[in-house]
Structure formats: C-alpha cells, structure tokens
Point group: C3
Chain length 343, copies 3
C-alpha cells in the first residue's frame, strides 16, 4: 500500500486549524513526540508534556494555543489538540475494503432485506426478517439472527454475532467476537431443577455506539436491554439483560453490569469496574478501575472501591487477617475511650 | 411473523393452572405488571409487588393462591408463579428454524457420524470421529473438533467451538462464542523457558446444562473437566482444567474457577465470584457477587468477600492507606488495653 | 483411532531418561498416580506426594533421582520429572490433521502470500497484503485481516481473528475465539460527544507465545502492542493498547492489563490479577490471584492485594462497614496512646 503524503498547509485548510511555520512541511505518518521524526505528525495532549516540545524531531505538531509559541518547527494550532489529532490521524488508517454487495459465500434468508449499498462479507449468515440498511458493512463471518435491524453506516468488523431482536442505530461499530442478543440469564427453580425463563425482549443500540471485542450484551427478559446513543464499550464487557445505559457513557475493559441496572449518561467506568443489578447510577458518575457499585449512586462524582495497596504477600496476609475482627477492634477502641474519659 | 393469540381458559388447561375470572380473555404478548396492557400476560413473583396488582392493566396475571383474590381481572393461579410464567411465556418465543439435515456449506469429516434428524447449519465444521445425535441443532458456523459427542436435543446457537474430546449430554444449550475443550493452561519451566504440558483429558457436560456466550471451559490435563447435570453458566465464565461442578449449580457472569477446584451441587455464584484452584466447595454454598473462595468452603451457607462500600475517591484512599498498618493498629490497641487494666 | 503402545526402555532412549526396573513394561496411556493402572504412565511432581508411590498401580512412573528408590515398579528417572512427563505425554495427544494447502472454501486476497507448506482450513479468510509462512496451520474459520504476518509453524486452532497489522513470530499457538489487533480503546471528548482516536499501531507477538481462548490483545494507538518471546496467556485475558510484556511472562485466566503498562520478564500473574495503565512492573514479579498493581512495582517479589477472607455474609458486612471509618479509628487510637503516656 502506497503511503499518503500531506502538507501542513493542506491539513490546516482541511481541518480548520491555524498554521504556524512552514506550510510546505510534508508528513507521511504519525508518531508520539518522543520518537517522531521529520516526516511525522505528532500532538501534545497536556501541558505536563510541554518539555518534550523542546526535544522533539516531529515535522508537524498539533498543539493548543497556549503552547503554540513553544513549538520550534511547524505547528497546527487547535483548541482541542487531542480531537484535532484524532481527525487528522484518521487519514493514515488503511481504508476499509468493503465493496457494496453480497459476497457469493454469504447466506441471506428469503425474508431478509439487504440494501444495495450495504456490503455483506464472505461467510456471513443473515436470518429471517432481518434488515440491513444503506452502507452498512458486515465483515467476514458475521452471524445475524432473526428480527435484527442494522442501521445505516454500521460496521461489524468480523465474526460478530447478533442473536435475535437486536436493533442497531446508525454508525454503530462492533468489534470481532462481540455477541449481542444472547439469552439473558433467567432461571426459575422448579422443585429440584432449573427451568429456563424465556427471554422475549431484544437489544436496542443507539446511534454512534461502539462495542468492543468479545463483549456480550444479553437481550431482555420482557423488555429490551438498551444502550442510548454514543455509548462506548471496550473489550470483554458484560451487559446483562434489561440493563439501560445512558448516552455518552464509556466503559473500559472487563466491566460487568448486572441485570436491570440503570446507568446514567456521561458516566465513565474504569477497567473491571461494575454495578450490581436492580440499582440506579446517576449521570456523570465516574468509577475508578475495579470499583463496584453494590448500591445505587444518586449523585455525580468520582467514586472508588476495591482499590487496595499491593503488598508483599506476607505483609498483606498479616493485615488481611485482622479484617475478620475489625468490628471487634472498633468496639474495643470505644471501650478504651470511655475508660479514658473516666480516668 | 404473525402473532399467536391465546385464551386464558386454554392456557389454564394446557399448563394445569387454575382459572379465575373470564376464560375468554385473549392475550398475544407478555409484559411486566407495570407496563402490561389488556392483551398482555403478566405475573407476580413476590408478595412485595402485591400493590401493583391494584393498578396493572394486564389482561391476565399469573399469581400465587395467596394473592389470587387481589387480582381484579383474569388470573391463572399457580403454586409457583415464576415457574408457571416461564412455561407459558415460551409460547411467545420465535420458534427455532432448524430443518433436519446437513447444510450444503457445512463440512463433515469422513469418520464423523451425524444423525438424520440432526440439523447442521451453514458453515459448520465437524471433525474426525465426532458424533452428533438425534435432533441436535448446530446453528451457523459452529466448529466441532475431533472425538466430540453431542447428545440428543442439544442446541448450539451459533459460532460455538468444541475443540477436542468434548462430550455433551442431552438437551445442552450453548450460546455463541463459547469455547469448550481448549487446552488447559499447563506449563512446565524447562530451564529458562516454558514448555507445554499436553492436555490429554476432555470436557464432560451433563444433561440440561446451559453455557453462556463467550464462556470458556478448558479440557483436563490427564482426566476430564466435568459439569454434572443441570449446571447453568452465564456469559464470560471461565472454568479451568479439571474443575468439577456439581449438579444444579448456577454461576452468573464473569465467574472464574481455577484448576482442579471441586464445586458442590446447588451452589450459586454471583457475578464475578470465583474460586481458587485445588479446593473444595460444599453443596448449597452461595457466594455473593464478587466473592472469591481462596480456601475450601466445607459448610453450606451464604458467604461474602470483596464487597466494599463505594466511596468518594478521596475518602476511599484515606481509609485504604490505613490498611497497610491494620495489624500494627490492632497490636497498639492491645497494648492500650493492657495498660488500661493496670490503671 | 488406534491407541499407540510404548515400552519403558524405548521411552528412556527416546527422551534421554534413566530406566529403572523392567524395560519391557508397556504403557498405552497416562494417568495421575492415584488412578493409574498397570498400562498407564504417571509422574510425581513434588516430594509431598511421595506416599502415593507406595500405593500406585501405575505401570511406569517418571520420578526425580531423590525419589527413585521409592518406586516399586518401573521408573524413568529425570532431573525435572514435570518437564520429562510433558515431553513424553505429547506422544499421546491426537496428531493434528492439517494437510498443506488452502481449503477450497477459504478465501485468500489477491495480494496475500501463503507458503506452499502452510495449511489453511475451511472457511478461513485472509486479507490484503498478509503473509502466511511455512508450515503455519490455520484451523477452521480463522479471519486474518490486512497487513498481518503469521510466522513459521504457528498454529491458530480455529475461529481466531487477527484484525489488522498483527505480526506473529514462529511457533505461536492461539486458541479459539482470541482476537488480536482490534482497535485499542481510544476516545476524545469533542464537546458533548466522543470521537474515535484512530489506532494506527499493530500487535507484535514474539516466538513461542501462547494466547488463550477468547483472549483479546488490542493494537496500539501510534506504536505497537508488544509481547516478547515465550509469553503465555490463558483464557479471557485482556491486553490493552500499547502494553508491553517481557519474555517468559505468564498470565492466568481473566488477567487484565490496562493501556501502556510495561510488564517485565518472567513475571507470573495469577488468575484475575491485573495492572493499571501507564506503569512499570519489574522482572520476576509474581502477583497472586486477583492482585492488582495500581502503581509501578519496581522490585522483584511476590505481591498480593485483593485477597480477603470469605466470611458468612452477615459477618463480612459487620466488618466491612467499619472500613468507612478506618482512618478515624486509627486517629482515635493515636489520641488514646497520647493520653496513655500522660497518665
């Protein structure tokens, strides 16, 4: 694949950035400030790294107005350098090779409808009554069950499974191995054995959502599991049945949300964070890595749990064993305090 | 798909329930009490929700004998309303479209045996010496390795992988992305590098088990990894090699069980619970969400660990840092108590 | 499949072990000491199990020189019995059935290169500009994206996905459902919504690595995510973008490593252990099960966190609620100590 080449002045025009320095500077790749060379584009995301501007060899740097005068070479000045970089860097990704049409090895049910501009990759299977809208791209080996809808400009990278009654909005991006619409985990104890509670709901995914590799989103029992618009889930996330997630909420790797939890908008869950079932988390709640909400969180804020010091094993064990008697210890201190006042 | 319609009297007859009210009441869907309309079937699972019986618009409600006289409209009375609802609700699931026979795009090894009544979906691959019994359904893109057995009436939804020596009993249900029979994680340090310890066992899954999406069950090193009958695993569960799980045990999402652990019957593991390796957990042990058994659990009961209050981050950190000195704190309290007695 | 039969003397010769006892003893299977019969090979891994040597019926036992005189029957003496057993046991695994050549149902891009001796299984898809080297085996339904390299003697068991710019060294073994090279989780907040930060790096995997079932390794943002040689990852592991893992490091099931963390060589992470992002872990660091490094670990050693006693739920809760006031408790003890000195 031939490398594209861009001039700083052209990038400034295309992305509405302010050019500072030599507009003829050419770049053909991107790199971090520390390792960038004269044909690389780089960016600075935080004032903390300002010192690196002195030593970088980057051909062009995207920078905030505040730091612009510290750039020695060519700069593109942006109010939000991270966002500007994200836009410019997209030029350097390998373009998606997804011609419209249905690959001859794909199998489409008679009652399914596939838009002419959609691209259905090799080995895909599309079930009864499902609808694939314009410009949707299904990479190799996706399996779409019955009664699913895939909105315009969605992209299922490859090996994505939508089991049943999964409806995606527009521009939804799903990574390999993700499974949406599998049975929620519903069981009833019938005497001495379990019977299955049918999962008659579906999964509703809003516009601009992103679903990570090997993530699972189960379908609802009676009503739908719902992701509002612009929800972003990383890999290995587990969303149980009837969960609702508000718009613009972000969950990092290995987060788990139990059944019927309602998570607000603009929440951020760190890796391996989670929430128990049947609770509510307010908008703008941040859970740090590994933090778990076992009860509702009614107010916005940054919350932590399950964040412990890593200690040499012997030292950990010596302290942890005391936990069994922490309540007793607190009571003993209260007794001492009472005596102390008597003295 | 045309909606089915049912009359209350017919449902009472079919499922052995007691009819109360108008037997001609028709329903064509199911819904929770709070949102149900006059053509919906609903149910009440607990006395706690009895107040909702006053306001619900549900056409028919499945209810316990105790609450029957509080239903204003038509009721179906059942000793266990949850179980009765599970049975009736199954009428409303989309029927499985799985005609007997081997799809022309499936690839079956010469030495494999597939029953005439089994349904092998598009793109499936079945390896040498494997056997698929009557009425088993393999949805699209399942990969069955060598020496596997799939019992009568099993259902592998789609994209399920059985690697090697996996034997399923009857009526086993496996969701997409599950991998059974991958190599257990066995390594031996040979000087300065690792060599692989062959995993010569298999996986044995009892009748009526259910395995969730993207769950993994590794095959054993010398002997089998074993699930007894009616074990129910949710999504993202990890069962390591040579684990044994007793009958009717249930594990919610993201549970992990390390190698050679023996888990009893009728256990219930909450989401992200787990067990270390080479230990034993008694029958009827419940682990609440996130609880981990690091040692054997010899007695039935409800156990917890790893359940911490979620606190504003600063508050968490202020307390967590004290953990490093909890043992010292306990010793200091003991000294004070000794002095206190001397006073 | 016909069972192979081996004589003790032949095994001694083939694997360079010292024969003790009857060289004509035949074995045709392997088993643990406790259940082995007269035609089974077994081994003893630790002095702790020496008593089992008295009662075992195993035909042949692999044993250390120290324990050799306690074997009543035939023994094969090895400096490291576990390693010797791993080598011998490999004779009993079902041989891989992977004839060279491209299966007629596989789809290979025009610009991809596949070595004549490589084996490409049914339903595989190989993308533009990718290269498959000699004797690599791709089992059924692997999807290889663009710009990937698969080194000599690699084995992708089945349903493995390499998304983009994934380069594997030699003899890399990858289990089903693993996804390498999916987009790292990079987002920038553009006013009130998220935009995607392109992930322009790749994934680099060294020689002799092993990647477990349903494990994910994301590709880097600007530079590569890197596994050095002989890294061994179990199932459900999550490696975020730009992580680097040193040679011979081992991670058990469900480990998660956040973005840009640098993990040393010869580390061992127990199940569900992990590391936060942008930190460094020294060589030879062991994290016990569930332990999480929230900060850099500069020195080798065995570390623990997140290892708590499992308690009856009521008892746990009584102690856990005290945690909210642990800092206050410590201050109260300090006050008492001060007073105590004044008395």
């Amino acid at each position: 694949m031939k490398k594209p080449v861009y001039q700083a002045a052209g990038l400034a025009r295309q992305f509405g950035l302010e050019l500072q320095g030599d507009g003829l500077t050419e770049i053909d790749h991107v790199a971090p400030l520390g390792t960038a060379g004269p044909r690389d584009l780089s960016f600075i995301s935080s004032d903390r790294y300002a010192a690196e501007l002195q030593s970088t060899a980057a051909g062009v740097v995207i920078v905030s107005p505040k730091l612009a005068d510290q750039v020695k070479g060519t700069a593109l000045v942006a109010a939000n350098p991270h966002v500007a970089f994200a836009r410019v860097a997209a030029l350097f990704e390998r373009p998606l090779d997804a011609p419209p049409g249905i690959h001859p090895t794909a199998i489409v049910a008679a009652s399914a409808k596939v838009a002419d501009t959609a691209s259905i990759g090799p080995g895909c299977v599309i079930g009864e009554d499902s609808i694939i809208h314009d410009r949707a791209v299904l990479g190799p080996r996706c399996v779409i069950g019955a009664d699913c809808v895939i909105g315009e400009d969605c992209h299922l990278v490859s090996s994505v499974t939508l089991v049943l009654r999964v409806r995606l909005g527009q521009r939804v991006l799903i990574h390999p191995g993700a499974v949406l619409g599998a049975d929620g985990f519903g069981l009833a104890l019938d005497g001495d054995h379990w019977i299955k509670v049918p999962q008659l709901g579906g999964v509703l995914v809003g516009d601009d959502c992103e679903i990570g590799a090997n993530t699972t989103i189960d379908r609802g029992a009676l009503e739908d599991t719902i992701l509002a618009e612009d929800v972003r889930l990383d890999d290995h996330v587990h969303i149980a049945h009837n969960v609702e997630i508000g718009a613009h909420t972000v969950m990092a790797g290995c987060v788990a949300v139990a059944g019927s939890a309602k998570i607000g908008s603009y929440c951020q869950f760190g890796a391996r964070a989670g929430a128990f079932g049947h609770l509510q988390v307010a908008d703008h709640v941040t859970l740090t890595g590994c933090a778990v909400a076992a009860n509702s969180v009614p107010e916005a804020g940054v919350y932590t749990s399950h964040n412990w010091p890593l200690l040499p094993t012997r030292e950990w064990m010596r302290n942890a064993v005391r936990f069994k008697h922490l309540d007793e210890l607190a009571r003993r201190v209260a007794v001492l305090e009472k005596e102390s006042k008597h003295v």
